[in-house]
Symmetry: C2
Subunit: 165 residues, 2 copies
């Protein structure tokens, strides 16, 4: 199921979601970024139907996030390698990982990101590379430029928003 209308939205979140395609696509990218390259290995890891996996792999190749490479001529077999654009998706997955650990791991995290030297678990926070300040804070706000596509859909004020609830 594609939500093609999303691609026409000017919101960059909507566009990212549209290109990545489906939950399965994020999990395929997760596996690809840990080194899985072959169809059968993706299938085993995800327990997903072959036709669904084929569709999702094709969509990720079309979106420029995976590159298809033939590794065997007889029988014909391809592998799927993350491109620079695919590797750049890792922060989104790490943010989802941190969120899952904080909110949906009542028995304690199964997967953790730790500082290699000390083994201390990381406490991930999104900051501005230039200032080192959290962008999810009062020092930052969202700016909307004049939309160049037909369906403007702004994110709204991030930093200045009042907390309710």
């Amino acid at each position: 199921m594609r939500h093609t209308s999303l691609s026409e939205m000017s919101c960059p979140i909507a566009r990212s979601l549209d290109r990545v395609g489906e939950w399965w696509s994020m999990l395929i990218l997760r596996d690809a970024l840990r080194g899985v390259t072959r169809f059968d290995d993706f299938r085993r890891s995800l327990g997903v139907a072959p036709n669904m996996l084929t569709r999702r792999l094709n969509a990720l190749v079309e979106a420029g996030m995976l590159e298809r490479r033939r590794y065997s001529e007889r029988p014909p077999r391809d592998e799927y390698i993350p491109t620079a654009r695919g590797r750049d998706f890792r922060p989104v997955l790490l943010a989802l990982l941190a969120y899952g650990n904080r909110h949906f791991a009542p028995e304690g995290p199964n997967v953790e990101i730790v500082h290699s030297a000390t083994g201390i678990p990381a406490d991930p926070v999104l900051v501005d590379r230039r200032t080192g300040l959290p962008i999810d804070g009062p020092d930052y706000r969202t700016v909307h430029h004049a939309p160049k596509t037909p369906l403007p859909l702004p994110l709204g004020e991030v930093g200045a928003r009042q907390r309710s609830g």
Copy 2:
């Protein structure tokens, strides 16, 4: 369409995706975090069918990310307010925003996060709050604990992974 099997996976990414539910859920959260609270305003912003919107709002309430509050008895009307758990999802959306701007905004970004004082666009990077170092780098790795749920699905080495492609 629910991927119930995902919820049984021990991977925190899969769990997050399972709870948030669908693309629409992420866009509903985006709108909720910029202050949208009412059904008709979500519907107008997203252009989504009412029955789909009702299902997604109910799922986000069940997941503990939105809270339902009655604001009118006659006629009966509810509004939807982000909980602390819902607000904590903002870094995922900001990571998706940054990704969309970098890769899917050939005409230039429509929405940008800027430093309020200077107006300089932020360059978002995920760091460890304790060390200030990027967790998407060689100083960090992923550790897998003994899974406590039936379907282990590790993320794999993040920091130590070799780049291919």
